[in-house]
Amino acid sequence: MARPPQDAAALTDRYGPHRNDAPPDGWQSHEPVDRQVKTHCCFCGQQCGIILNVADDRVVGFEPRYDFPFNEGKLCPKGVKRYLQDNHPDRLVEPLVRTDTGFSAASWDDALGRTVGELRRIQAEHGPDAVAIYGGASLTTEKAYLLGKLARLGLGTRHIDYNGRLCMVSAGVGYKKAFGVDRAPNPWADIRETDVVFVIGANIAECAPITTSYIWRARDAGARLIVADPRITPIARTADLFLGLRPGTDSALLSGMLHHVIARDLVDHDFVAAHTEGFEAAAEAVSGQTPDWAAGVTGVPVARIEQAAEMWADAPTGMLLHARGLEHQSKGVVNVSAAINLALACGRIGKPGCGPNMITGQGNGQGGREHGQKCDQLPGGRNLADPSHRAAVAEVWGCDPDELPQPGYSAYEIMEAIERGEIKGLLSICFNPLVSLPDTARTRAALDKLEHFTVIDFFLSETARHADVVLAGSLHEEDEGVVASAEGRVLKINAAVPPPGDARRDTDIIIDIGRRLGAERYFPFASNREVFEELRRASAGGVVDYAGITWERLEAEDGVFWPCPDEDHPGTPRLFEDLTFPTPSGRARFVPTPWRPPAEGTDGDYPTWFTTGRVVSQYLSGEQTRRIGKLVDQYPEPLCELPPRFAEQLGVTDGDTVRVTSRRGSIELPARVTATIRPDTVFIPYHWGGRKAANQLTNPVLDPESKIPEYKVCAVRVERVGPGHPVTDERDVALTAGPPDEEVTPA
């Protein structure tokens, strides 16, 4: 039973999260530096270039990296303070095994022996599919590739998936349906070139901060900005047009706009006729979704919907940018298709300044979904279910195609199978489901049922507390490899320092597990470079072709955009320039977007809409950023954003404690009364665990195609509990907040 071995307070005391507030030798002016390592930020999909300053094999600071063209030195506060995750008191420096009284240090032999022995025992008793692997999109592409190979040829299980399932998979499915390829079609430089930027469901200023400069540069050159969001996000403050839509109604807004584009005959008929298919069916699907109807569903005034449609269609070029707001819904794929349809109807693809583009969120959210850690995928973006794709990869791997298992469960389905007792063993890396999956209580109960649970991590996350074995892995700056940024630009990550103590590089741990599972011949690698070289060959000929990419080219050319089929190929910054698409017909496809409401509606018991998201100073489940003092100070604890009129009805003033309850659970937290949110909606950021987890409330219903959970909309009830404490304002006052109260102790 994978239950935490000690109560939460004892585990927090020992393993954190604690704050790291200062560089290793304190705040010294002009501290001596042994070397400077050019690499990229460990956090989001922007993958900003950064220089890490190293002294005595410790990362002690950073310098802006002006020579990297994407960000030219720019960084958000997370990037500025990322170096403080090094030399951290919570860092795991040796393998741990669970005992009756707590975690105790173990040798690598003992720890890995226990992991492999238990996973094999479970498979012997319950079949190969009784164990699963969880991966993550902060891993380098080499690690993601190795995990896929480990699942298929090491463990021989169908079940491997990754936390990118919680990120942008709805976009991936939508783009594959429309274009046959899962990548943002444009390099970010195209944003600067465009005439209208339409941002929907993307809090760019806080979740992809560097993209802000691209949008502002477009506006300098005369572009107009339309923002659709339930909140007036920072990027929306000066927008030309703001569409404050109700959560979960994105496809209605986009379909209403498409209806207006068709009704006003603003369609690019030549483009549609020559390069697309399915327009008539898509037009038929929106025939009833008039702007008037859409206004009723979305709460956006009809005049603004029509104005937005005209602003979008009348401009010579346009970029439509979307992120999790659109994708984190049980109709995430429909929303994405509606966005793509609007772009295609106006011929916005394959040209400078033209395209619908997903803003991939995680550091290697793009690369981590290309080469095999998805449940249905093989390297090169190939399909695990396709016999010819299986044969191509099996040839590189030197195995019989029949040895490869068939597709398995997606990330949340794996947790459901654990809950049912069908999956009994789990190996997890770079994934903190106890914070990031919807319906926290259910996730916690499921984890407790595992017969064996091994976690590879550098800090003891909320989830790792449930582990039987914790393998001390590597931080981003302790290993090298490649990632692909949100642009589809493949980049080289360089190691700055070695792992501390007995911690090992993740790659070495995964390879070691593979060998101990008896799959030595599939894991012959002596270095990460050898892994990458095999990955290149395994991707050759696939949609996601890395065959022409070398580590040397990545350094020399500031990255290479895939596909890049041979070493003389320059890479492909902008997809579809010849207006042919890797679909069976070579045409881009419209996909019909019939209206479907959110899975859960408001009613008398739960009358208010609820949505979640992020803040600029925290990253995903907070595993790293909640341990960096300066980032904690910037937003120390979750606040419930509440609109003023609603707050008045409840008798709530700023800082009061409120209780927010959904059909899954309840959370008490301070209210932040603000006019920047819709009058019928409340918002809580999700970066915290335990009693502070917004995901105690969220609805675990999945999109039927992408299997993404519906984080962005459910129904709640809000009540005033009483006076709280003054809300910590985001001003530059000295804050004295201690470490946040993290974890609730299960009785």
């Binding site: 705040w27 950073f62 300098d220 050159a221 956006v300 005034p301 100073s617 003023p644 006019a675």
Partner: protein, 205 residues
């Protein structure tokens, strides 16, 4: 001279992310202490928030230096107004109270006034200030006037009127139309019509 770099603030670009605040304290001359102020401003009748970064404006005739009884605040040849000299500063906070932009910070634990010095350690050797290097929105920006003119919109102002006091600064601010002087107390209204009713409650769906 158009090849001399200038520091430009465009408040309308600010997204309130505090990268500037976090990066300022990484600057070698005052590591661990940030000199930047990031203020939240209620914006327009709907109370939507705007954020505004403040660095030292490096006034041509700096009020802080004028009111300093210890003559501790010096301006260099390039017009950069520096932190108080340790040997002279008496910690009286006159400068903190007098600065029209609210820039100087009294560091009571070391009994010294400190303020933004335009990252002299960087800018004096051809580098960019830390805040203007990292700013994701280019609300804080450093470059030549030609570079500004080639990629950026807006008129640069460097004159301010605070009631009876007129101030000219080395740091420029992006203004909408005329280069100023900007009457700070008069305020300016947001141009976007939707801000009057951001969620369309009066407009009706």
């Amino acid at each position: 001279m158009t090849d001399e770099s200038i520091f430009v603030i465009d408040h309308s670009r600010c997204i309130g992310c505090k990268a500037c605040v976090q990066a300022c304290e990484e600057c070698g001359t005052h590591r661990g202490r940030t000199m930047i102020h990031l203020d939240e401003i209620d914006h327009g009748p709907s109370g939507t928030r705007q954020t505004a970064p403040t660095v030292c404006m490096h006034c041509t005739d700096p009020t802080c230096a004028e009111v300093c009884p210890a003559d501790a605040i010096k301006q260099n040849e390039e017009g950069v107004v520096q932190s108080a000299l340790k040997a002279r500063c008496i910690g009286c906070s006159n400068c903190v109270n007098a600065c029209p932009f609210g820039v100087p910070k009294m560091m009571s634990e070391i009994d010294l006034m400190m303020k933004c010095d335009l990252c002299l350690d960087r800018t004096s050797v051809g580098g960019k200030p830390m805040c203007a290097s990292v700013c994701p929105s280019e609300a804080l920006w450093y470059g030549t006037p030609d570079e500004f003119a080639s990629g950026r919109r807006g008129v640069l102002g460097s004159g301010f009127v605070f009631g009876n006091q007129a101030v000219t600064t080395k740091v420029r601010v992006v203004v909408d139309e005329s280069p100023g002087p900007l009457d700070v107390l008069a305020g300016r209204l947001a141009p976007q019509q939707w801000l009057d009713d951001p969620f369309g409650l009066e407009e009706g769906a």
